[in-house]
């Protein structure tokens, strides 16, 4: 597309939110804009926020779907607290999203959708546009009619025609921020044929041309490339990174992967992604339920594969009994819980971090399991490799706690050099002379992994308490106590392999902000901003939640105040207070939404005695 003849203004960063009906294709529009932005070399962070219903009634508040993308020429960590630009496809989208917009921000509306009926359905008593003209920079575009006009000579039905209007809007946004359209055009070419392809390409161009010619936009903007670490990048979501991390674990440990999974939001995409990689030797099994998914994965581990299951909260709870068996029989299996707002069905498409205690303590009796949490979408990749390394080295189930925010949001990801990824060999037991099912490695306390097909190593595993060394069924009191202690000591020893936790900021001081999982971007950004404004605050982000890194107690003890920030009612906060007896405070948020930087800063200000900004 041609260069603009209007003036171009350079800006450091901008956050745009696309909002419309679930049927308006806002997730797709946001994704395509993001991909183009990534290719333009900006740092970015996205936040898709959509309803659980597949298609809520058109024009209703419940049906509004939003996608926020924040991009910059500098390092950014969050999708931004408040968007600068809102693209609202209908009154309901305006109503639900306008309050989030920064004061005086730009609102681009599809005026054709502001009919009396739609306005009423959104709960407005009168046309909201006059008020918006006063409060914001309102850009009123008759998107539906412009789109129809552009497509009038194609033989498309009215519905098919109107479905293209999101790409008209996308064309406008490409012009407004000088984004290349090639990646979207390529994608369209691979996805559609004939008139539908022609229509989408045409409105994308028409939107772009409209931006150039309309008087509504006197200038366009450009966000220069970010100065980030050299290398090859791609845009990636947490779920894709997680799936690829599973593929990578199979390659790096040279073991076949077996995934047992049952469809559940927001984890299903991992199953979908892995089902495409049979040529990596990966077997995916869509089980009849969550329990069968876990049991099949443990069965595969018994048979010598890397068993894994991916799920979300309600499914995770159903797997707990099977996980207890994996603890008892000491088999390596990894369970991923992409946490969502609960309890029960809760809010399936909304994020939360409230399964931590269930992961660490949620089985009958003392049944310790190592727990890890990735901190960014790209980090999901590396976390999966580490999870399998721990599982195999220590012969234990491992839980990975992702969350709905990480799962669906994306960031530019420095593609790792495959040669530099960790490798680990897996040693199966083979010697019938020395084999005992529950003998132990003196360093890790791991028992041997003896897989069917190995002559002379026939043995039985059971969920009944087993005798030390021999693995025979044993109800002897002393043996049980010893086995319980061995199982917990084994997990505790994982801490010996963990790197010391690193502090962002100073090694000691007034306030330490502690977080874990998908809140890393917001917490780090808030703490860095506060430090720049002169506040004595540092942060740590805990990746290993069981066992904790060995130096965690010392780090916590080096600060006068500790604030534990998490998207639950204080689960890590409780664990840290119990473990280290620190008088930590809790910043808890359970709205199904990630932290805003401002929320964290407000609490930092309060704890440090007064607002510094």
């Amino acid at each position: 597309m041609s260069q603009t003849k209007k003036p171009v203004e350079e800006i450091d960063r901008v956050a745009i939110r696309f909002a419309g009906d679930s049927g308006d294709g806002m997730q797709l529009t946001g994704t395509k804009f993001t991909e183009s932005t990534a290719l333009a070399g900006n740092d970015l962070a996205t936040f898709p926020d959509f309803p659980a219903e597949i298609r809520a009634p058109a024009g209703s508040l419940a049906g509004v779907s939003g996608f926020q993308v924040h991009f910059a020429s500098e390092d950014i960590r969050t999708p931004a607290d408040h968007p600068d630009v809102l693209v609202a496809m209908n009154p309901a989208a305006l109503r639900t999203n306008l309050p989030d917009l920064r004061p005086g921000g730009m609102v681009i509306v599809n005026t054709d959708a502001f009919t009396t009926k739609n306005i009423a359905q959104a709960g407005y008593e009168e046309d909201p546009l006059p008020a918006a003209r006063d409060s914001h920079r309102l850009v009123e575009i008759p998107l539906t009619s412009l789109n129809r006009e552009a497509l009038k000579d194609l033989k498309l039905g009215a519905r098919e025609t109107d479905r293209c209007k999101n790409f008209f809007a996308l064309g406008i946004m490409f012009w407004l921020y000088n984004r290349p359209a090639e990646s979207t055009e390529r994608w369209l070419g691979g996805k559609f044929k004939g008139d539908v392809l022609e229509a989408n390409l045409r409105v994308l161009k028409a939107g772009h041309a409209y931006g150039e010619t309309t008087e509504l936009f006197p200038v366009s903007f450009v966000v220069p490339r970010a100065k980030i670490q050299p290398g090859t990048y791609r845009n990636i979501t947490g779920n894709t990174a997680l799936a690829w991390g599973i593929v990578a674990a199979g390659q790096q440990l040279e073991q076949p992967i077996f995934l047992g999974a049952y469809p559940i939001t927001p984890a299903s995409d991992i199953l979908h992604e892995l089902a495409r990689y049979r040529h990596f030797g990966i077997k995916t099994f869509q089980a009849e339920d969550e329990i069968a998914a876990a049991c099949s994965a443990i069965g595969a581990s018994f048979a010598g594969h890397l068993g894994i299951c991916t799920t979300s909260g309600p499914g995770f709870i159903l797997k707990q009994e099977a996980l207890g068996l994996a603890v008892m029989t000491e088999l390596p299996v990894v369970v991923v819980d992409v946490q969502r707002a609960g309890p029960s069905t809760g809010m399936p498409t909304k994020t939360e971090q409230a399964d931590l205690l269930a992961a660490v303590y949620g089985r009958n009796s003392d049944s310790p399991i190592p727990v890890l949490a990735p901190s960014t979408p790209g980090d999901c990749f590396h976390t999966m490799i580490e999870a399998f390394q721990i599982a195999v080295r220590y012969m234990t189930p491992v839980v990975v706690l992702s969350d709905g925010y990480l799962a669906n949001s994306s960031e530019p990801w420095l593609i790792p050099d495959v040669g530099a990824l960790p490798r680990q060999t897996v040693d199966y037991a083979t010697d019938p002379e020395t084999f005992q099912p529950y003998s132990r490695d003196p360093e890790t306390l791991a028992r041997p992994w003896a897989v069917p097909g190995t002559p002379g190593l026939e043995h039985r595993l059971t969920g009944i308490e087993s005798e030390d060394v021999t693995g025979n069924v044993s109800y002897i009191a002393e043996n049980h106590e010893k086995m319980v202690a061995l199982r917990s000591e084994k997990i505790a020893r994982i801490a010996n392999d963990l790197p010391p936790i690193e502090t962002n900021g100073s090694a000691s001081g007034e306030l330490l902000v502690v977080g874990w999982g998908g809140t890393c971007g917001a917490l780090t950004a808030a703490v860095n901003e506060a430090r720049e404004s002169g506040q004595d605050v540092s942060s740590i982000h805990i990746r290993h939640l069981n066992p904790f890194p060995s130096n965690l107690g010392d780090v916590l003890g080096s600060f006068k105040q500790v604030l534990v920030a998490e998207l639950n009612q204080g689960q890590l906060w409780r664990m840290l207070r119990a473990e280290y007896l620190v008088p930590a405070e809790s910043l808890a948020k359970v709205e199904g939404q990630p932290f805003k930087i401002s929320e964290v800063r407000a609490r930092i200000d309060q704890m440090l005695g007064g607002g510094a900004h």
């Binding site: 991909e35 290719l39 070399g41 670490q229 050299p230 290398g231 090859t232 990048y233 791609r234 690829w244 593929v247 990578a248 390659q251 076949p256 077996f258 990689y277 049979r278 040529h279 030797g281 990966i282 077997k283 099994f285 089980a287 009849e288 339920d289 329990i291 069968a292 998914a293 049991c295 099949s296 994965a297 443990i298 069965g299 595969a300 581990s301 018994f302 048979a303 010598g304 594969h305 068993g307 009994e321 099977a322 207890g324 068996l325 029989t329 593609i415 495959v418 069917p452 097909g453 190995t454 002559p455 002379g456 026939e458 043995h459 039985r460 595993l461 059971t462 969920g463 009944i464 069924v473």
Partner: protein, 343 residues
């Protein structure tokens, strides 16, 4: 199917060093002995044999077999077996379950393993009672059964394991009796040879909580009158001299036909057993036969071939590797849109 063993094994090679802890007189002893006896004939090297079970008296079975074994959690043995067999199709995988484990808490998994036609053998010990939890009624207990949890008599309508399996689309369903060793061994061999899920309901006596539930067919002298032995291609005839009778099946409804000692059963309308009848309704009609009005059929109800789950899964893996070449992680990570930031 797994390879043949190099040196011939004996029954004792399949006996583990653990003390068997079933109650004296339990039907499980006989089943265990017959399985251990038949394994050398089946001929799979014992390192390639895996016994998987859930929870219950019957589920202790793997602990007593000197093969690989996995005694898991209640009702879920078919799901564990699915992971084992799907991961390692070359293994010979056996599931041991009971009427409670397999049809109550584990009914869902049993249904799905059967419909997927995973190549495993499922031995369902049916004693029509919960043994390990001390005598509550089970999903196969008769209406009216008086137990600790049903002091006024059970009001649950029971399910028949053979009908259940047929309804789930099982490709091999058989019934055997705990104490009829030769027949049981024959059924075990047939199940092992079947390339898909093979379910054998084994009528098993629990002398402690439901004694003599199957006594009519267990005792040799009454068996001729009470059991109908199914043999492929043979008419459905039972009863000794002077009591010879046959089963006719009209529109899916079975009826009894009296036969003279020398009479040709087929000319009188007696059905001829056809294991591979294309419609399961024939086998379903057989499964409806029950005492006291009818004899209890034992033998193979249905044996048809369908591709097995683990075979099709492995075929997809193999085909994908041929088509796309072996997986290349670097290529995967760099697929699609990427961009390079120069130093």
């Amino acid at each position: 199917m797994a390879a043949q063993a190099a040196t011939p094994l004996k029954a004792k090679d399949f006996v583990s060093d653990q003390d068997v802890r079933w109650c004296p007189g339990c039907g499980d002893y006989s089943i265990l002995k017959n399985v251990q006896r038949v394994m050398p004939d089946i001929g799979v090297p014992k390192e390639d044999v895996v016994f998987v079970s859930g929870i219950g008296c019957s589920s202790r079975f793997p602990l007593y077999m000197d093969t690989y074994g996995f005694h898991t959690i209640h009702g879920r043995a078919p799901a564990f077996a699915t992971g084992i067999k799907a991961a390692r199709p070359e293994l010979s995988v056996w599931v041991v379950t009971g009427d409670g484990d397999g049809l109550s808490i584990g009914g869902n998994h049993l249904m799905h393993v059967l419909r997927r036609n995973l190549d495993v053998q499922i031995l369902l010990f049916n004693n029509r009672v919960y043994g390990l939890t001390k005598g509550q009624y089970s999903p196969t207990s008769r209406v009216g059964m008086n137990t600790k949890s049903t002091p006024q008599g059970s009001i649950d309508h029971p399910i028949d394991p053979v009908s259940f399996a047929l309804g789930a689309g099982a490709t091999f369903v058989a019934r055997a009796i705990d104490v009829d060793g030769p027949h049981l061994q024959e059924m075990l061999k047939r199940a092992s040879a079947h390339p898909g899920t093979a379910l054998i309901e084994i009528l098993q006596n629990c002398p402690v909580y439901n004694d003599d539930e199957w006594v009519e067919v267990q005792e040799r002298k009454s068996r001729a009158k009470t059991a109908l032995v199914l043999e492929d291609g043979e008419p459905l005839v039972w009863g000794g001299p002077g009591e010879r009778r046959g089963i006719a099946i009209t529109d899916g409804v079975p009826s009894i036909i009296a036969l003279g000692d020398d009479e040709d059963p087929t000319s009188k309308g007696v059905a001829v057993h056809d294991e591979s009848h294309q419609s399961p309704s024939y086998a379903f009609a057989l499964a409806s036969l029950a005492r006291p009005d009818f004899p209890v059929p034992i033998g193979v109800f249905r044996a048809v071939e369908k591709p097995s789950y683990e075979r099709m899964l492995q075929d997809q893996v193999d085909a994908a590797s041929v088509k796309a070449g072996p997986g290349d992680l670097h290529a995967l990570l760099n697929s699609g849109d990427t961009w390079t930031v120069e130093a």
